[in-house]
């Protein structure tokens, strides 16, 4: 598989504060990555370093296997970071034409990309007249101008109203379904969960995990169960070898699996013992639950 970006022991210190600490991971073509971490965890600094605007303290990074210099590589990348930055006195179209000049691409795509983000009818309006949502969408259009190998988005929905958030997510989803590699930095877990296949989780500049979304913690999922005789249910579950921790909350019994098991197996096990269930649900941890577990684990270590 083609590696688009690899980071090796990348470190950034601001004075005595270490913003990014010895970070290594790589981005493969065709996947949608999320960089996840609380505010101030070093997401933007990491992106800033690979995007040539923040100087690294040590370590290195490579674009496209190091075949070209960073600024040449960036011409094949589309990126927006935090704020949309454009010339306020220029119109949407003029701003995009300038980006084309810098990237050395053809101007013919401008209208097409404005269409994708729904700004075609505002192409002759000055940037300073745009709302935040429109500015953010223009930034996405600008990042798409060169049909990039990878699209980097840093907190693309920050500060937007629900409608704006929805619009941006729809656009991202559309782009992702077209096969473009995406790197999305966010502190919003559901956002990452909805669009990403892989995650890199960082906290205080350190990497906690990188890999597919569903393998963050070693987990076989858990059952939520309900029956008329709750005490008997709990007793029976305790005897089952594949079930580990059992907790009761909000009228459910939650049974965490130690070994893989399907719902029909536990159902027939309980039925044979003479207990019928009124509710049975097998679930995997949501990204939020996984994330909290992971950050708690590492905090305890």
């Amino acid at each position: 598989m083609e590696t688009i970006l690899s980071l090796n022991n990348l470190t950034k210190k601001f004075g005595r504060i270490t913003a990014v600490d010895d970070l290594s991971f790589s981005i493969e073509k065709g996947n949608v990555y999320g960089i996840l971490g609380p505010n101030g965890s070093g997401k933007s600094t990491t992106l800033g370093m690979v995007l040539n605007v923040v100087n690294k303290t040590s370590g290195n990074f490579q674009w496209f296997d190091g075949k070209m210099s960073t600024h040449e590589a960036l011409k094949k990348v589309g990126a927006i970071i935090e704020h949309p930055n454009f010339y306020p006195y220029m119109t949407a179209e003029q701003n995009l034409a300038l980006v084309c000049k810098i990237k050395g691409t053809n101007k013919s795509k401008i209208l097409e990309k404005l269409e994708i983000v729904g700004l075609l009818d505002r192409k002759d309006s000055k940037f300073k007249t745009f709302s935040l949502g429109m500015k953010q969408r223009l930034a996405i259009a600008s990042a798409l101008l060169n049909d990039p190998e990878i699209l980097i988005l840093d907190e693309p929905t920050n500060g937007l109203d629900p409608q704006g958030i929805h619009q941006i997510r729809e656009i991202i989803r559309k782009i992702a379904s077209g096969g473009t590699t995406i790197l999305l930095a966010s502190h919003l877990l559901d956002e990452v969960e909805k669009v990403c296949s892989h995650v890199v989780i960082i906290r205080k500049g350190e990497k906690l995990y990188s890999g597919p979304v569903d393998q963050i913690i070693n987990s076989f999922g858990f059952f939520e169960l309900k029956a008329t005789d709750m005490t008997r249910l709990e007793e029976l579950l305790q005897t089952h070898p594949k079930i580990g921790k059992i907790t009761t909350n909000e009228g459910f019994i939650t049974a965490i699996l130690d070994d893989p098991m399907e719902a029909d197996e536990i159902n027939s096990f309980l039925f044979e013992k003479g207990l019928s269930l009124s509710y049975l649900n097998k679930r995997k941890e949501s990204l939020e639950e996984q994330f909290l577990q992971l950050t708690n684990q590492t905090a305890q270590n």
């Binding site: 600024h71 970071i81 010339y87 300038l98 000049k101």
Partner: protein, 278 residues
């Protein structure tokens, strides 16, 4: 190179304030012609500037390049703001992310500076030719085209000044403060000169020798004021017993000092940009 200039041209041409300042600047240069119509009375004597021979070749080269250089402040505002606006709009960040290298960024700005100076010089040449051909008492080609080194000095002077402005724009990041800094710097140089001249090296030329290496002083040294070169002033001076033997010429070492400053300013801008986290 052309790509970099095109990028810069695109940034400037849609900015209304830059457009107005640039147009004003060039119109004001053409207004040098209006000096011809100045007349005033000193006691009994009626004084007409046009009669003093200011439009005579080759003196006009000196006179016009000196006067036109005063107007450089207009373009200085454009240059300072084209640098610092990149910071305040944070577009410099976007430019770099879009794939412009830091070197290319500085180069595009410096090329713009060169183009501004070049066009100004060309413009000054045309205006001076027209004025001179209409008013000059001497019209032989050999006289017309003597003293053309004033144009070269004018070009270097503008480039030096604009390179300084460019550096200040990057250093200070706010256009108003950068222009303020420019004024403060000019005053500081003058104070230092006065201090050295009247306190430390009293009665010697050492202060002048030292000060010629300072940026603004070296830039202003390139073209010496032309007024005391006028016949009327010369006669007036000799009547009151003073002798004016100023050196009005342009010297290679003065050009060299400014060129060295230009190199320093451009590289310092690049180093600043490289060291900074945006």
């Amino acid at each position: 190179m052309l790509r970099l200039l095109e990028i810069e041209y695109n940034k400037l041409r849609y900015s209304r304030s830059a457009r107005i300042l640039i147009i004003t600047y060039f119109i004001l240069i053409t207004f040098i012609a209006l000096i011809a119509s100045i007349e005033f009375n000193i006691g009994q004597i009626e004084f007409r500037v046009a009669d003093q021979g200011i439009f005579n070749f080759p003196y006009i080269w000196h006179f016009n390049s000196y006067i036109a250089a005063i107007l450089k402040l207009f373009l200085a505002i454009v240059i300072v703001s084209m640098m610092s606006n990149e910071y305040s709009n944070r577009t410099i960040k976007q430019n770099l992310i879009d794939g412009l290298s830091k070197k290319e960024f500085i180069l595009s700005k410096f090329l713009t500076v060169i183009v501004f100076s070049g066009i100004s010089t060309l413009f000054l040449f045309v205006v001076t030719m027209i004025l001179g051909l209409s008013f000059s008492d001497f019209n032989e080609a050999s006289i017309i085209f003597s003293d053309l080194e004033f144009l070269l000095a004018y070009f270097v002077k503008l480039t030096g000044f604009f390179a300084f402005c460019m550096f200040l724009g990057i250093l200070v990041k706010r256009s108003a403060f950068a222009l303020g800094f420019l004024v403060v710097w000019a005053i500081l140089e003058k104070i230092l000169y006065a201090f050295l001249n009247f306190k430390v090296f009293k009665g010697t030329d050492i202060a002048t020798e030292i000060m010629q290496f300072f940026p603004l002083e070296s830039i202003s040294n390139l073209i010496v004021e032309p007024f005391s070169r006028l016949n009327a002033v010369q006669t007036a001076a000799s009547q009151i017993g003073g002798e004016l033997d100023k050196d009005y010429g342009i010297h290679w070492y003065q050009l060299l000092i400014v060129i060295v400053w230009i190199v320093i300013f451009v590289y310092a801008s690049l180093i600043l940009l490289r060291k900074r986290d945006l």
